[in-house]
Symmetry: C2
Subunit: 281 residues, 2 copies
């Protein structure tokens, strides 16, 4: 039986820590504030917004909601982003994506100030994860993997870590974060030959393939820690990760469940970034 690396325990610990940090900031006259910029009324956005607002409220972070209609034009959206960049009372900005197709999302991302980009979507933020400049923020899901490993006391120094997936949202940034923690990091992807032989040799596997069952019993070995970033709906309508939990869990030493793993830590990281941005501002 593998140890279950539950996200809730991590989120609870982060929440307690953040609550203290927010109290200290408020005592200094700083009121940490997250602006949530939403275009339209997509169900996914509304659901994530609800979770983020609840988490913000629980630690005392204020939320400023900016909602634009689904048919907003580029200039109006751009101007809303520039206003948030300039607004000193706003420390972090969460902008939902994908934006409606008529908008140039790339151009919008390039305008958002990296130091307020608490969701890690701008080129400046991503570049700072690579260069280690600390100017922007890592994408929340990538950072959530590290928070889980930290919380459960899994030291990364000198460990062989394999990342399955090379997306700019998760695979690539999490590889940089692992490297910054002194792991020996390998990135696998769809063109990797004999992936099981690569993943079996790791001590830590981050699965961010974006596909259910991408990692099964063949890919793992005894003693490993598996962090499963995937969120998929299977044929029975159940939420499952990218790792085949039933076959992987009996072999490895520790694994994050899905649901209840990485996903439960993501909004916490978002709010943590806001608190950090407020402290730095």
């Amino acid at each position: 039986m593998a140890t279950l690396l539950k996200g809730k325990d991590v989120a609870d610990a982060l929440t307690a820590k953040m609550t203290d940090d927010v109290t200290a900031l408020k005592a200094r006259g700083v009121n940490p504030t997250l602006a949530i910029l939403r275009v339209g009324e997509r169900g996914d956005d509304l659901s994530y917004e609800k979770g983020a607002m609840k988490r913000a409220e629980s630690v005392g972070v204020a939320v400023k909601n900016v909602v634009l209609p689904a048919d907003v034009d580029q200039a109006t959206l751009l101007s809303a982003v520039l206003d948030l960049n300039a607004d000193k009372s706003v420390h972090g900005v969460l902008m939902f994506s994908p934006l409606p197709k008529h908008l140039d999302e790339k151009a919008i991302r390039e305008v958002l100030a990296p130091e307020k980009d608490v969701d890690g979507i701008t080129p400046g933020s991503l570049g700072s994860v690579f260069t280690g400049s600390g100017k922007g923020f890592a994408p929340c899901t990538a950072q959530a993997c590290i928070e889980i490993l930290d919380h459960y006391g899994i030291d990364l120094t000198g460990k062989r870590a394999v990342v399955v997936g090379r997306s700019l949202v998760i695979g690539k940034p999490v590889a940089q974060l692992l490297l910054a923690k002194n792991a020996t990091v390998t990135t696998c992807h769809t063109r990797t030959v004999d992936m099981p032989s690569v993943t079996r040799g790791a001590e830590i596997i981050i699965v961010a393939a974006g596909k259910a069952g991408a990692v099964n019993a063949d890919y793992v070995s005894a003693g490993q820690t598996v962090i499963d970033v995937g969120i998929n709906v299977n044929e029975e309508g159940k939420l499952v990760g990218d790792a085949d939990f039933a076959s992987v869990e009996p072999i490895v030493d520790a694994i994050t469940p899905v649901p209840g793993g990485v996903g439960s830590v993501t909004t916490c990281v978002l709010i943590k970034h806001v608190v950090y941005a407020a402290a730095r501002a």
Copy 2:
């Protein structure tokens, strides 16, 4: 006997190709121009400048030399960089570093336009190597490794590539370039445990440890290709790489010599970037 991956052959092929490209650009009325911005008279800078100018001349790229005294102040240097950013007749800028200690080099790097940063020293360029946006340029030495592999027809797709070293100048960007070529990429460094077991399992090793003898016979196995980025002076005053050539060469399939390997391709890549920037501008 390993195949020697000589840099000269790569440089000759790149030079021939660039000469054609420059002729075509000139026919369109574009005169590819590199500005070389040097502060002071450091020997290393003068020697690299000489090589770059010779290479530029050989393919028909114009060079504009900007020389500032070693005691130049920050504002004057900053203004020189801004002038080069604005100058439409300049397509690429090479600025030598390290700058004299009284100057804030980081601030200068942040000002240079990534699209003219043919030496890959700005955060924007480095970030673009990570995000794949194509906006800036990879550091020349990192790109030179890829040019050598390309020239000798060494396909990277699905290959296991190990990079030894994680500097922002070479190790990190070359890992991203290998990943973009669909290799399965592992980054090793000083905190890696049992590095020989990691490097022995690779098909391609990029050695960028910055230390003579960092890779010896224990680290390699038959069939491998070794690209040695190191340039060190040994006890006998001879130029040597990071790999111990005498013990590694008999085992592996192919290896770059030092001198005469990666170093001979670097200025070619610099000029290639200028030609590319001119074509894009």
